[in-house]
Amino acid sequence: MVELETTQGVKTLHKIFLEDVYSIPGGEKIRLCQQCGTCSGSCPTAYLMDYSPREVIAAFRAGMLDRVLKSNTIWLCTSCYSCTVRCPAGIKVTDIMYELKRLAIKYKSWPSSSKNPAMSKIFIDHVHRFGRSYEAGVIGQFVLTQKPSLAWKFKGLGTKLFLSGRMPLLPKSIKGKDEFHKIIDLLATKEVSQ
């Protein structure tokens, strides 16, 4: 396991990240970044980020990814792909954010204020169980375990959704759960973020 607190650890992390990014089809284009800032200017949540998307790429170049992993930046990416379609160098910025999320999960390094890793975990657990996402279960578990304050805020809306038939309380499962799990189990052993 890489220790993010040591110089050696940071160097190793940089190397791992490089390999991961280069493994994305077209990933090597990250070398072509000219720091124009189009990605940051296009990002709908950049104003809340500790480091803007442009700065993330700069940090990557400077070998300072450990800071990025501890920042809120990657967890504010909504996958809108605005940066990706506008980047004049053709860098897949959104995919780089995904790669960073996976590394952050692997090294358990995210700001305590960010609830996204927990949300993703709950989501994945539900898909593992049912083969599909089960919205009432995912939202219910998230609210109860991560953000009880939302229960009050969502009370009226939740009732409305339930009454209009948009929030069924029971999950629907796929039939081929066994084969589904075979696929997942086999791939889980090769996953970067394990």
Binding site: T78, S79, G131, M167, F180, I183, L187
Partner: protein, 292 residues
Amino acid sequence: MTLTYSYFPGCSSEATGKAYDISTRAVCDKLDIELKELPDWNCCGSTSYFSIRELESFGVSARNLAIAQEVGGMDLVATCSACYTILAKTNRYFAEDPVLHETINEALEAAGRTYDGNVNVRHILDVIVNDLGCETVAEKVTRRMTKLRVAPYYGCQATRPKGTFDDPEFPTSLDHLLEAIGAEPIYYPVKTKCCGGMLMMTQEDAALRLCHELLKCAQDNGADVIVTTCPLCEMNVEAYQKMVNKAYGTSFNIPVMYFTQLLGYALGVDSKALALQMQIVPVENVLAKVPA
């Protein structure tokens, strides 16, 4: 001639996005588009999944594509823009990365399946506008949506990242479809801006701000209704209006519909068969504006 497709309803079609599924089936029935539901489909691989467990999510996604291949390899149509993007991305990555394709196929084989990479993934908007065509739709309209001012909201992932069937930032296919049913698509420069997506759960202040922008632009430009092509966009822009109002001191009460609901109404489909009663902000008053 009947157009035939495999149909991927996606998980939200069983909950918050039910009306999208119901209205899509009703509209396709009316337009002579045959949708054959993909047998035993599972989660598309989802952005939340993909962003954390890449390989697994490709496997989850590819199981759907393998089934689509087994049932005849027809184009696989998704309604949810996020499902569409993820399924299409799996295809693209397989084409660009043979090693990844092989790894996933090994896992699929353990489940007795295989996928060659040749099933086209399509968005329902693309199918209606480009395969069927706006002229054909116009011929079948029985209730012209005259004078209805509509904000065409495409959201992010119908056209991004690849812009396969329309421009990634300034798409027009939905605008043309709205014109075909007699409605007036308003100038809506935020048509592909983000709704906040899953941030509505994890960081609602950020998502509410984005929704506020979308609602304000629709109101300022005189929209009677906003139509969407994605269940997450629909949910965020419609259901959270009260929370936006509270945060920004506004008084939005703008009806939001799936584009298939409005299209179905124009084609003469009964309101119930379009699940119009499922909307949080009632749409009846707006539709009553339309001359009979």
